[in-house]
Symmetry: C2
Subunit: 252 residues, 2 copies
Amino acid sequence: MLSKAKIKLIQSLEQKKKRREEHLFVAEGPKVVGDLMPIFTCRLIVATTTWLKKHSQIKAIETIEVTHEELCKASFLKTPQEVLAIFKLPHPTLPANIAEKELCLALDDIQDPGNLGTIIRIADWFGIKHLICSIGTVDAFNPKTVQASMGAVARVNVYYTNLQEYLANLRTENAQVPIYGTFLEGNNIYKEPLSTNGIIVMGNEGNGISLLTQQFITHRLFIPNYPEGSLTSESLNVAIATAITCSEFRRR
Amino acid sequence: MLSKAKIKLIQSLEQKKKRREEHLFVAEGPKVVGDLMPIFTCRLIVATTTWLKKHSQIKAIETIEVTHEELCKASFLKTPQEVLAIFKLPHPTLPANIAEKELCLALDDIQDPGNLGTIIRIADWFGIKHLICSIGTVDAFNPKTVQASMGAVARVNVYYTNLQEYLANLRTENAQVPIYGTFLEGNNIYKEPLSTNGIIVMGNEGNGISLLTQQFITHRLFIPNYPEGSLTSESLNVAIATAITCSEFRRR
């Protein structure tokens, strides 16, 4: 039996402010909850009898058995799926000098929760473990982002920081670390030498990489349309551009 | 002044059945309407004074000047943008033997209108003019698809046909035409020879390419994760996989 207070708590976690206050976030569905369970501390499971029977060994501080109708009242999904869980928000610390050793992604004010979730899933696929987000980027623990990541948020560390300050420090400390950015004008990504370490910066949906961030980019990349220079769409969606860029870096 | 009957007509065009009965579809916003205007016959424009002043030479059978509040009543968008238009549905005919000459995309039961719109935008970017959809694929003139395509639906021809029958005929008529498909197991796309003609088949969000369609695939491709074989996300979103696949075909 799901109390009104619990439904209220779950629903309140749609708001970033509440997630920060409570240090909690929501995930839904067998796939996503299953991926997150071994990584994050689970505070509450709300699940149907069927799901609970299949997962009798699961560890959560509290478990509530519900009917599908009750689950619908708490869920953020159009078609709720067997289980909803509340986890403790992680607070990962960005490892020092990480961009000297590995390829990382940075996001400059991505606004759409679905785009962020898709980008986290892409990072995971291409073995990128660290995603550095500007303060203005949408929260990775937004329920829509968690769902769009399809559980990849369990395997990719997402950090929020003053991106310009971070890039400025990086340039000062080690000017050799490449900082890539994708633009509508730049060097053809298919022909450029690409490193196995450094940072790839992706920009905001409407405005691309901000002028303040652009000053730290050392390599301007461009995904050519086909035939090059023809009258096609003006741009690609940011998640699509991220996928093509990561694919090019990892192909080599 | 926007009549109740007009609002009802616009809203009814969210349904595929109504679009087919009326042979009409809706597009919104200066960018999308602007892209569609030179290509499709415009039946009705509903726009703010500001937009109409900027586009005094625009041709439509009927034009209605509205306030932002009136536009909100008709719009499908969370934040309506200056203009909404009704266009005549196109009925393009799939050119014979097109896959012998050009690279085409085929979709096997794509369900999500946003994914389809994003795929149309990707096809446009990579100069793919023909998108052959199975009957079970979501309608390209769904308002969500039109918006997600960002106007690319004006530049890419979308056809609906019995996909298996189409591919079977293609194999019979010209067995030389390559039919590519992406799978979770197949040949590494980065290392495979890729043709400049033929068909790339992309599968349904949950189930991939159906067994019935699979029998016509001549080249099974796979986008490797990184490091190859590591424990990452199980798959990529279909629009993301389409983008990486098209990028690989066009890069060569």
